[in-house]
Amino acid sequence: MKYFAKKTLTLIITLFMISIATFFVFQIIPGDAVANMLGTEATPEREEALRQQLGLDKPIPVRYAAWIKGVAHGDFGRSYRYAENMNEMMSVSRLIGDKLPVTLTLAVLSLIMTVILGFFIGIVWAGCKSRTLDAVFGIITQGAMAVPSFFLGILIIFFFGIILRMFTPGQYVSYHDSVAGFFGYLIFPAFAMAVPKSAMAARFLRNAILEQGGLDYVRTAKSKGCTDRRIMWRHILRNAIIPVITFMGTVIAEIVAGSIVVEQVFSVPGIGRLLVSSISTRDFPVVQTLILYIAVAVMVVYYIVDIVYGIVDPRMRSNED
């Protein structure tokens, strides 16, 4: 139990560090955000007024406290670029609100595909005895890993969109309009992300299986009279899965980051696309919030991975007391 408590404590500390890091990193940005916002209408008086309005005149720790308090209440400040109406800028949380589920769906879809594809290929590959087939798997996965997701996305658009007409490139379907259409569209960007990642996962799993297969306990299982299938499913896989779990943490983190690029390719209005456009327009409250979101998501993923790891590997629980 101590293992889990320790991991939880680590998560809390890390999240705290991340919040500090995200806040301060955006304090050292060159160029005054206020001057930036007002543009040509800038006068010293106006700047001063706006600065006070935004609370930028207070010392940094106070601003951090105010910011983190806001974050805790779901208030991430207001965008510099997007207007709510004539008088007010749009609040960041509203701006992100309907984009978050899109990216989340995309990432989860992609993860499911990665796991299914990766495990299937990895297990089949590890079990194949022919040397030619082994080499073919090797070349295919090596190739799949070398394709950047945006190029793969373009290829998918070309084949599935333009030639096979299975979807209309650029015509994203909102889940408000049609849930089926929404998934029907997101399947393709998810697939673009899943291909290289599942190749990585397959290679990793295959190597882990082969490594485990050579260990002494497998020989013991054989000497007991276990069938090959029993050895694979009850003995090898359970041990081979342990390093794969850790590895999946990295894969999920990369899927989250990969969605930034893939949303751009497929014109999916998720937070990745918003992040890129906000970086281009230097809309820092939005950038800051999105970075915080993604960082927290990544850390939580690693936390979950650690927990699963502890459940699967009994050595973890008792060794690290």
């Binding site: 002494d216 306990y217 013991t220 299982a221 000497s223 009279g225 069938t227 590997d313």
Partner: protein, 522 residues
Amino acid sequence: MLQINNFSVGIKEKIIVDSLTLEIGDGEVVGLVGESGSGKSMTALGIMGLLPHTAEVMSGEILLDSENLLAKSAQEMRNLRGRDISMIFQEPMTSLNPTMKVGKQLMEVFAVHSDKYLKDEAKNKVLEVLKSVGLNDSQRVFDSYPHELSGGMRQRAMIAMAMLLRPKLLIADEPTTALDVTVQKQILDMLTELKEREGGQKMSILFITHDLELARHFCDRIAVMKDGAIVEQGEAARVMDEPSHEYTKKLIEAVPGRRTGRKHHADNNIVGSSRDAKRDKVMSVSGLSAYYKNKRKGVFDRQTLMKAVDDVSFDVYKVEVLGLVGESGCGKTSLSKALLGVNPDVRGNIERKSTSARMIFQDPYSSLNPSYTIGWLLEEPLRAAGVRSAQERQRRVNDMLKMIDMEGYNDRYPGELSGGQRQRVSIGQALITEPELVIADEPVSALDVTIQAQIMELMLKMQEKMGLSYIFISHDMNVISQMCDRVMVMKSGSIIESGSTEEIFAHPREEYTKKLLDAAWR
């Protein structure tokens, strides 16, 4: 019961087992003895039908109750394994599945071999067998993961697994080699007992070992294997006392403690008392305690120290071999590290005449830097010692290569050498700067017996030539008896007994020393 006829196995054109013929009778214990690479483990795997994919059976038959195992299908062999033939392996630490509870792994034998098995009944049987192998706390063992048990307990669990279905034949491949000597003896005694207890149905054992003395003690008959073939077999006592084959003689000759090779320096026999105060001391240790750091769990945790060596005092004299004996975890290695100044957490006093102490390590595969040639490796200590002239260094390297019988190996890499050759280089590396004292930490325990003998001979030869002293660390009383002038026995960080080798071996005072000597069986 088991009859192996003309059995041959090859791997890639190379013959690993060469026309092996061997018979094991009902209830008989047959020892298969040989050095590493002699093909004894391959023979065992061949009987089990578990040869690696690269290996190929070239000829012969293996008859179990006059049924040829080699003609059986994979399915038939699976049914046989664990039921009629069982096997226990050398490595208790890794032979159990680390993510499955021990009990479940034992239950699996029933799951595999009986069509319908009743869980409760099977569990009771497992608990009973666990008790019979000396694991009295059987319920706890049943619910433990392997990493929660000690090496000896795991090996017992392995044996329990092998015995569950009362096999006709048990193959034991070096079952005690990885264990401490005192545990070794317990395990073998227990195996003998189990065999006897089987009553009506007699179990036969094929006992594979590199250790002749162990085989003599445990087996009815012994077969000696070399390069894949059996060179001699017969009654255990006969083979040991009147070996007929040259190789057997050589093996027996090489067994440490058997030979009378060690010529003790006349005056060394009376060391260890104050009479020797006049003699030159190379090193003098008083009140030495050494600690090691517990691994800290976090940045802010307090560092705790564990005492590994507890208030130890002794002297090392010029031109002597001082033995240090004890089981793993007794603090031998911590002591040697403290003596060398590698461990910073030390209390007490170490006086050394010169700073040049060197070390010879146990594992010849990790004690030489694999990235450099033998010539470079031998030269490095000279460079570090500040010998400026390259010619001078080269000359000394060549001299040393000659002395360790490795002439012409200048440009070879450690990876190209055998274990024995590597150990020679290690000795050369330790001695090239002509130190007064060398600490040798189990320098021969990773080697085959014949190589062991050569290395010990070399160490003694170098001692005579260079007039140096050794602190010789070992767990093996036989090796100690052959090498050392004086012996210190170490247990739980303290030296509990010391004296001249003759004294200790003839009249051990401490119970623990007696136990060690007893476990060595000679």
